[in-house]
Every structure is written in C-alpha cells, then in structure tokens.
Amino acid sequence: MDEKNSIYGPYRPELEKIEKELLDEIDTLRERLKQKNGMDPVEHCLSRIKSEESMREKCVRKGLPVTTESALTKIYDAVGIRVVCAFIDDIYRFRDHLIALPGTEVIEEKDYIKHAKPNGYRSYHMILRMHQKFYAEIQLRTISQDTWAALEHHIRYKHDIGKSNEELIASELKRCADELASTDLSMQTIRDMIFEDNGKSETE
C-alpha cells in the first residue's frame, strides 16, 4: 500500500523500526536467560503492525476520525507484540527489562495475572511509548494462559452455543483458567526447587 492511501501515512517504516527494536530487546534478554538457565524462557513470540483494515475499523469503533493522527496517537496498538513464556516469573523478567530501556515510557500497565479478569483471563498488558513518539502494546503471558485465551476467543465467536449452555461454559472456562493458573504456579515452584538443588550441589 502506498503512503497516500495508508492509514499510517508515511510512518509505517518508523513503526516497523519500533517493532524491530522491541523484538531485538526481547531477543537480548531471551539469549541472556538461555545462557544463564540453559533453557529458552520464550515459547514463542508474535508481532505485527495492525492491519489497515483493523485500524480503520478500530478508529470507527472508538468514534475517532479515521486519520493517521488517530492511528498513531489515539490508538496504542499499531505495534503489537506478544511474548509467550514457559514460566510465570519470566513474564516479570521481560516486563522489567522492557520498561528499563532508554527511550521507553510506560503509558499503562495492567497485571491481569495478579488481578485476573472475572472470566478468568490472565495476561500482563502494557503500553509503551517509544522515543516520545509512537506507541506499542506488549502482552506477556504463559503457555497455558495463551492456550486458554485461544480457546476462550474461539468459543466467544461461535454463535451456536445455546443460552442455557452459555453460563455453564463461562463458569467451566473460569474453572479451567483457575486450574491452569494453579498448574503454572506449581510448575514454577518445581522449577525453583530444581534450580535451588542444582545451586546447592554446584557450591558443594
């Protein structure tokens, strides 16, 4: 799409630069943790520049003029990155690393892990402003949180669930979220125990 027709005007390359910068930083920490623990902390990492169509649609939904200005300064997820970690503690390591970067300003942080949404959704969300200019939305979550969100999304957009089933499914999904959260915490505890034991035997 040429600049004239793009909702991002001539700024797409700059958005891509921010995207790359953040991905590089995520990779830096990923490598460092891999060296330190002998284990890749990231299961997968996705990134995207929001599509022209979704961005226009979001402007309309938010009652904003469909302009480059809206897309870049009123809506914060033109750049979106999702980091899916194996363990909960690593989520907070990535969060700490990203907010400490020079040129990064935290606009908003929502810890839906510590404060899960009523439906059971868990994830760490933050909006960063990069170099006092453009915004990026970062989502950090564990594999099981990601799996849950995928199924929940799938079910929400299925319209053939009967009314009577809807409540049951919602409460069962919440139960699954709470069970998965519990398992995540158990796995983290087990990992800590293994590292503790290894630490001990190395110093002995």
Binding site: D178, S182, T189
Partner: protein
C-alpha cells in the same frame, strides 16, 4: 437427614423406621443386603444402619462393598449375636459403631445422633481465614483472584487454616495429609508448602506460611505488611 436402614425382620424394620421418621429423619428401608446395596448406590445418606444377619448379603458384606466403593457414609451395625468376633469383624470392615440386639430404642436414636454428628464433622466445609476463603466443593482458594487446588494442597491448606493458632510439625502434616502414602517425606511437605505459598501470593492474599523445610509450619496474617507488587 437421610438414613438408610437395612433390617430383614419385618416388624423390627417397621418399628425402627417409624421411630426414626418420627424423630425427623428421612428413612429408606431395605429388607436384605442386596436391596441395601441398591439403595446406597442410588442415593447418598447421612448414616446407614445395617443388620448383620440378613439374607442374600449380610451386613458386613454390605459394609465391605460400601467401603470398597468409596461410600463413606457412617455405619451403625446391629447384631443379634453378642460374640466379640462379630463386632471386631464389623468394626474392622469399616463400621463406625455397633449395637447389640435387643436394644432400647432410645439408645438406637442416641447412637444415630452421634453418627450423624460425626459424619458432618468429617465432611469438608467451606472455611475462611484472614483475607482468604477455601471452598470445599470446588477446592478453590480465593482472595483477589482464585485458583483451584489439588486434593493434597486442599487438605494441607485446610489443616493449616484449622491450626493457625499453633505450629504444625512436618510429622503432624505427614500423618494427617499423607497417612496413606508412606513414601511421602519432609521434601514432599516442603514442596506442597511451597505450592501454597506461591498460590497465596498469586491470589494477592496477605497470608504467609512461616516455617522452614523439615520444621514446623504456621499460617499467619502478614505481620510485615509485605507488598506483593
């Protein structure tokens, strides 16, 4: 309160049913052991009264069947025999009490009351301590957030909540939570304590579990005002 009564002597069955019903119990009567098993499979009861001498399947047979199938309803055995062997066999098979025939109806009622009372105490209950609540049916630990616990975690949490006024030693915990698992040791207890510590933090509770591996443990409302952020 629902009671299952298995007694093959018709007159006695009728009399016991009448008196228990009069006391406000909801009584299901059976006239032999097989009928009793059918009833116990179809419904759940707060107590069962089983005559030992019954056609088709005797009271001890019914009792063994129940325990093998995880039907944990408290059981009172009725026996015409006064033989010690019979009572011992009954109690060993998982009966909670016995009553030798002939008996006074007042004693039957008193024993049933005791049985039902005990059953209630055995049943898991919803509990709360500090800012945390523990739901038995769902095995859910909740404060700001909620998580679902495993069976052992739930039992351990329940134990800590009921003993928050004192310290529980690792041995106490092993005896109460891991009685059926001889392989469990101080490491097991410590791992489960660690699970609960993490889960308490994750639901944003102020409760902490104090204690070191192998030692005593105690659930405390946070005295240091530690922040979770």
């Amino acid at each position: 309160m629902k009671i299952m009564l298995a007694e093959d002597t018709r007159d006695l069955n009728r009399a016991e049913t009448a008196i228990l019903t009069h006391e406000g119990y909801d009584v299901t009567s059976a006239y032999d052991g097989e009928q009793a098993v059918d009833c116990l499979e179809q419904d759940s009861f707060d107590a069962a009264i089983l005559d030992i001498m019954m056609p088709k399947l005797d009271g001890i047979g019914v009792l063994k069947y129940m325990r093998e199938n995880n039907i944990l309803t408290p059981v009172l055995l009725l026996t015409a025999k006064t033989e010690v062997d019979d009572r011992v066999a009954g109690l060993d098979a998982g009966a909670d009490d016995y009553l030798a025939k002939p008996f006074d109806m007042r004693e039957l009622l008193a024993r049933v009351r005791a049985l039902v009372r005990r059953g209630r105490e055995y049943n898991p209950k919803d509990m709360s301590f500090g800012d945390v609540s523990l739901k038995a049916e769902e095995m859910e630990l909740s404060c700001e957030n909620s998580v679902r616990l495993s069976a052992r975690e739930f039992e351990l949490m329940q134990l800590l909540m009921t003993h928050a006024d004192g310290e529980l030693s690792t041995d106490d915990i092993l005896q109460k939570v891991w009685a059926a698992e001889p392989a469990a040791d101080a490491d097991t207890v410590w791992l489960y304590i660690s699970y609960l510590k993490r889960k308490l933090t994750a639901i944003d509770s102020d409760l902490t579990i104090n204690g070191e591996k192998g030692g005593g443990f105690r659930l405390d409302t946070d005295p240091s005002g530690r922040s979770h952020e």
